[in-house]
């Protein structure tokens, strides 16, 4: 690989002994644990990027003994596959992160919600979980983790839909507020974090908040695991420091002919070649849950957009009209323009519809369809029309 402005990091997959770290954490007060996570600047790695320490603090401040830790392992965003690798390679670090969170907020039960597509991981996870449960018992920490499986519904990655699913219902997102830290799983205070976020909290306890904070930029501290796919000779999973530009990324991972990078999956943004230099991968630019998909000049961006819209139309839970109808209309709309049944001006109407969905849809799914839609339509109009 080239001389890298893109800095490789090895925190997530580093093999460590969780026992030592957890013993150390057991000596700390909950406020100290939370403060260290706040100081690290860690933001959620599941996509939305909420500051993890603050989330823990909100949950810790809630009264009552019934609280839950939930590990979001639903990983359904197209182009994201790093949580699978983390759970496969270092499952005990994920459990350890949940246990640290349980100390911080005062919870006794944790759930891992694993997407059904990853069911093949279950025997291994159950074995590792049994060992971990024993460790908790030996160390005298009252915390139990249960494993739940999804059944092929992308929307169940949305936190409140995920709670509904664990509770045995259709995975339909709830209204917010109240937020999960106030009313989450079984309507109790809940701290839900992505797989990767939880592992970072372990490494922050191991190396200290400053070690993490020194990586990355002011708005995007630390590193992140990227899932790289598409037209690249080096598809795979890479942990990189945050704050690189798309140009730097493409220089390392591109095939020499990259015309666009979809950052953040179907729910993310399409960055065209002319914006590679100015676009930072991180919360100050284009945020990502890790999905980085490269497209070279042989690809039709119409096909790409059509594929994403088909995905959303299928995965929309159908609960609210802007999203249920909007996804279908966007899909039909670009098909009609392509066939010449509608003039290219109709695309402007569709962009407006996508903007309306952003305001009117109930959850992040419907709200984010417009990201890919508008960024692809605006940058690759000719490809959509002709």
């Amino acid at each position: 690989m080239s001389k890298i402005p893109v800095q490789r990091v090895d925190l997530i997959f580093e093999k460590i002994t969780c026992k030592e770290i957890f013993e150390k954490v057991l000596q700390s007060k909950p406020e100290e644990i939370i403060q260290s996570v706040i100081d690290s600047g860690l933001k959620g790695r599941g996509g939305a990027g909420f500051p993890t320490g603050l989330k823990w603090q909100f949950a810790a401040r809630e009264k009552g003994a019934d609280k839950y830790i939930v590990c979001n392992a639903d990983e359904g965003e197209p182009g994201t596959f790093k949580d699978r690798e983390i759970l496969d390679e270092v499952p005990e670090k994920v459990f350890c992160g949940m246990a640290i969170a349980s100390l911080a907020i005062g919870a006794k039960i944790g759930y891992i919600y694993l997407r059904g597509e990853y069911k093949f991981l279950v025997p291994k996870l159950e074995n590792k979980l049994a060992e971990f449960q024993q460790l908790m018992q030996d160390l005298g920490h009252d915390f139990r983790i249960e494993l739940r499986l999804g059944s092929g519904a992308y929307i169940c990655g949305e936190e409140s839909a995920l709670f509904e699913s664990i509770e045995g219902r259709r995975g339909e997102p709830r209204n917010k507020p109240p937020y999960p830290t106030k009313s989450g799983l079984f309507h109790k205070p809940t701290c839900i974090n992505n797989v990767e976020t939880l592992v970072y909290t372990v490494m922050i306890q191991k190396y200290g908040a400053m070690h993490f904070r020194e990586l990355g930029t002011k708005d995007s501290r630390g590193s992140k695991v990227f899932s790289v796919s598409g037209d690249t000779p080096t598809a795979g999973i890479y942990e990189l420091e945050l704050g690189m530009s798309v140009r730097e990324f493409v220089d390392v991972f591109g095939d020499g002919d990259t015309k666009a990078v979809q950052v953040g999956g179907a729910a993310g943004f399409c960055v065209p070649r002319k914006r590679f230099d100015e676009t930072i991968i991180g919360f100050e630019g284009v945020p990502t849950g890790g999905s980085m998909k490269l497209f070279n000049s042989s690809r039709s961006m119409y096909n790409v957009l059509h594929n994403y819209l088909d995905f959303f139309a299928e995965e929309s839970c159908g609960q609210c009209t802007p999203c249920r109808v909007g996804c279908q209309q966007l899909l039909k709309g670009i098909e009609a323009v392509k066939k010449g049944e509608k003039s290219h001006k109709y695309l402007d109407e569709l962009v407006k519809l996508a903007a309306t969905m952003k305001i009117a849809a109930k959850c992040g799914l419907g709200q984010s369809v417009g990201n890919a839609f508008s960024s692809i339509v605006e940058n690759f109009k000719e490809e959509i029309i002709y």
Binding site: P78, G79, T80, F81, S151, A153, G168, K293, F311, C317
Partner: protein, 154 residues
Amino acid sequence: MIINEELVKEAVKKHGSSRAALIPVLQELVAGKNYLSDLDMVEVAREMNLSAADVYGTATFYSFLDTRPRGKYVIRVCKTISCSMKGKNAILATIEETLKIKLGETTADRKFSLLETNCIGWCHKAPAILINDEPYTELTPKKVTEVLREYIKQ
């Protein structure tokens, strides 16, 4: 329509009859008999003290909780962008040819069903499919034929 009261009773015994056990129970049934018949769902509703409509409504939300008869091996071909870019159509065509069924169909001997699915998390090793719980990645028409041959033998 096939109903399996024993399976239902066992699943409810294993997971309990609280509402939160509903999806694990349904998952267990699908793992055992590949799909949920109407009568299965009625039986689950009775065992768990829920309305049949509620059980049906929950099951049909989830694409992996099939409510139509499926074969012993359910093949799900990923159709999301990376797999689609990297030759998914050729894989699908090869499977159709080998098993002599079209997308959405089940072989006459009830051994295989062929479906498409959304991103299964193997984009870096596209194209990928699931056969029941098992992922197969970096497929070529030749490789998928070999995989299928092993299943046909079983």
